[in-house]
Symmetry: C2
Subunit: 216 residues, 2 copies
DNA sequence: TTCTTACTGGACTCTCCAGTCCACCATTAT
DNA sequence: ATAATGGTGGACTGGAGAGTCCAGTAAGAA
């Protein structure tokens, strides 16, 4: 008569449908990515998920919880994208390029601006969530880059003053004017080619700016 | 018995109070800068302006009109800030620095993120307004920079491939990670010193990346 | 089978907010 | 003075959307 089973305890009655939960999240993600938080209605989420509104509320406490779950999912996506292949072996330029591509892919191709936008709105309520999101995504990238840059500086490949600032520079160069363009709605979608081009170009300029005087 | 006077025809009755109109705009600007559009209530604007709600609606048709007027005011601010001193005489580095400072001052110190945020939300309704805003502000800066950079390239001071892209790079370097920081709410206010530091640093890195091989 | 929980659809409550109406007072032109 | 318009405060309307309730049905657990 063991009460607590390790595995998810099968309660009596009909179990919740995991597929429904998934489709709710997918629907919400789609909507949160294409419009600001306030404009996403629960009705719309339910309709898009092909689910009744009550089911929404049975799986998630409220709108904010759904949003938070979506954000967390994207955080995970970012984490895996950025901390992808091991970077010890490859030369600096290749390493930076591949991180840049991964970063831009998530940040831009996933059409993050709306999410980011929404985040800043919900900050007033939940600064902790924003912090988590930043730490999991952009913040992690920044740290990883700073580490790489510091290493390259120690090996004499680069001449940087302060690795973290240099990492900011590199990220900025990758992004170029894109976030603004997206925020203003001038751009809808970005092709993979374009992402690669931008990442490579940003890396190149970065390396030129921070080239060690001795090299090159 | 001329009907149409050139000057604003003095209609019968009590004239509108220009000061009230101004205080409404000031109040609205303050609010729109500190929170997203949807959260700014007309009640709040009226209260902050020290004016009744009806007066709001007598001066402006509706909430969107007030917002648009605020945005236009900031556009003007940006324009004058950026197209400030004549730039023919001064050396390139100084020119870029002063533009950078002006740009950052408006974009960051005026705590634009919320406005930008709001803009992107209202895009769905009024793409034209967003375009106007961009053209008056960031777009104008970009063009001016591209022109300057193209000139410097012709004179052999810089080695750039495509002036507009280089302008994007420069702006990105000025901004560093700030827009993101602001969007996430990690930063509230930025001091003038910090702006100057960032502008100078960005310019320096830009010049290093695009230095003409021949120069020193 | 029977019990328990999940899901549906729709009606419903609550709250918030943009925008309006009204009765009254204030200010200016003629 | 008188007409015409501006401003005030408060009550009001209308709409939208979050979250709830309920009666009925579906589906796994015991």
């Amino acid at each position: 008569m063991v009460m607590a089973e390790a595995s998810p305890r099968a309660r009596a009655g009909r179990p919740k449908d995991a597929a429904k939960r998934a489709s709710i999240l997918a629907a919400a993600q789609g909507l949160f990515r294409s419009q600001p938080y306030e404009m996403v209605t629960m009705e719309a989420v339910a309709a898009r998920a092909g689910v009744s509104k009550m089911t929404l509320y049975s799986h998630f406490a409220d709108k904010e919880t759904i949003f938070e779950t979506v954000v967390r999912a994207i955080s995970d996506e970012m984490m895996t994208a950025v901390s992808g292949p091991d970077r010890a072996a490859a030369p600096l330029r290749e390493t930076l390029n591949s991180i840049g591509i991964a970063f831009l892919t998530v940040v831009l191709d996933a059409s993050m601006p709306m999410i980011r936008h929404t985040l800043s709105a919900s900050l007033h309520k939940d600064q902790a969530l924003a912090r988590r999101f930043y730490d999991a995504g952009p913040g992690r990238t920044r740290s990883a880059l700073a580490e790489i840059i510091a290493g390259a500086t120690e090996r004499g490949e680069l001449a940087t003053d302060f690795a973290e600032w240099a990492a900011d520079d590199l990220i900025s160069l990758w992004e170029g004017g894109l976030p603004a363009q997206l925020a203003f709605g001038f751009i809808e979608q970005i092709e993979a080619d374009e992402i690669v081009r931008r990442a490579k170009r940003g890396t190149e300029i970065f390396l030129r700016a921070y080239a060690h005087p001795g090299n090159g």
